[in-house]
Structures are given as structure tokens and as C-alpha cells.
Symmetry: C2
Subunit: 82 residues, 2 copies
Amino acid sequence: MVKIRIEVSYLEGVEDPEASTLQHNLGVLGYDSIDKTRILKIYELSFAEDEHTALGMAKAIAENLLINPVINKYDIIILGEE
Amino acid sequence: MVKIRIEVSYLEGVEDPEASTLQHNLGVLGYDSIDKTRILKIYELSFAEDEHTALGMAKAIAENLLINPVINKYDIIILGEE
């Protein structure tokens, strides 16, 4: 069994409205020294397959189901066998 | 300037409905060998302060604004000076 982490974030140059709002609101609350905010979503999936097969499945899941390639990118991190 | 990552996840034993739905739907689509799914949300904040001060601010932001302590936990990772 192998555990894989898929990190989904916005492409460079695409504005993340949730991150912008968070940064603005933190500023209103007094945290005005934060000059960059980024929000990512992480999917951790445990596969019964071996690492090579699981990696292929994780890529297919990320590209076909989890991201919108027009605005998102993803990174895959293998967290290891369990 | 220091960049800090706040990882928000569900406490052990709390069911994450989004993760459960994702796992179920992946199974329907043929990815039925995934036996555990976890979804985390990551906030990456760049602070103008030094590391020690920024860490205190990040903890306060996480505890007071980003998480619901009844169902969430958080980890803080210092990504380093910029």
C-alpha cells in the first residue's frame, strides 16, 4: 500500500479570490504585515497498488478529476509505503 | 520575511464528508483500490516579521480564524526566510 499526496494550487498569474479575501480580512483584523497569501488543497490517497501503478493512477485522478487545467496546477508527493 | 504554511485537517475520528464522497465516487469510476482518503487545506502566508514573531501570529491566526477546534486540527511548518 502506498500513500500519495496530490497538492492542487492555482497557476501563477491566476488570482485566487479566497486567498485575496483572506489576506484583506487579516489586514482589517490587524495582521497587515502579510504580503502574500496562497491557499492549496491537498488530497491524500492510500492505494493498494505498488508505487509505480499508484503514481499513474494518482496522475490520472489529478488531471481528469481534481484540477481544472485552465486555472490549476498540481504536484504529486509520494508519502511512502504503509 | 518568513513564509509559514498552516495545514488544516480534520481531527481523528471526525468524518470528512468531502473526502468520503470523493472516495466513493472514485470507486464508482473504477478506482476501487483506494482505501483511505484525506483532504487538507493549506494556507501559506508570508510575514514581514522575523520567524519567532511570525510563528506566534500564525498560531493566533490558525486558532482564532482558520480552524474550528471542535472538528479541526492544524500543523504549522516554517518554509523559511525569503
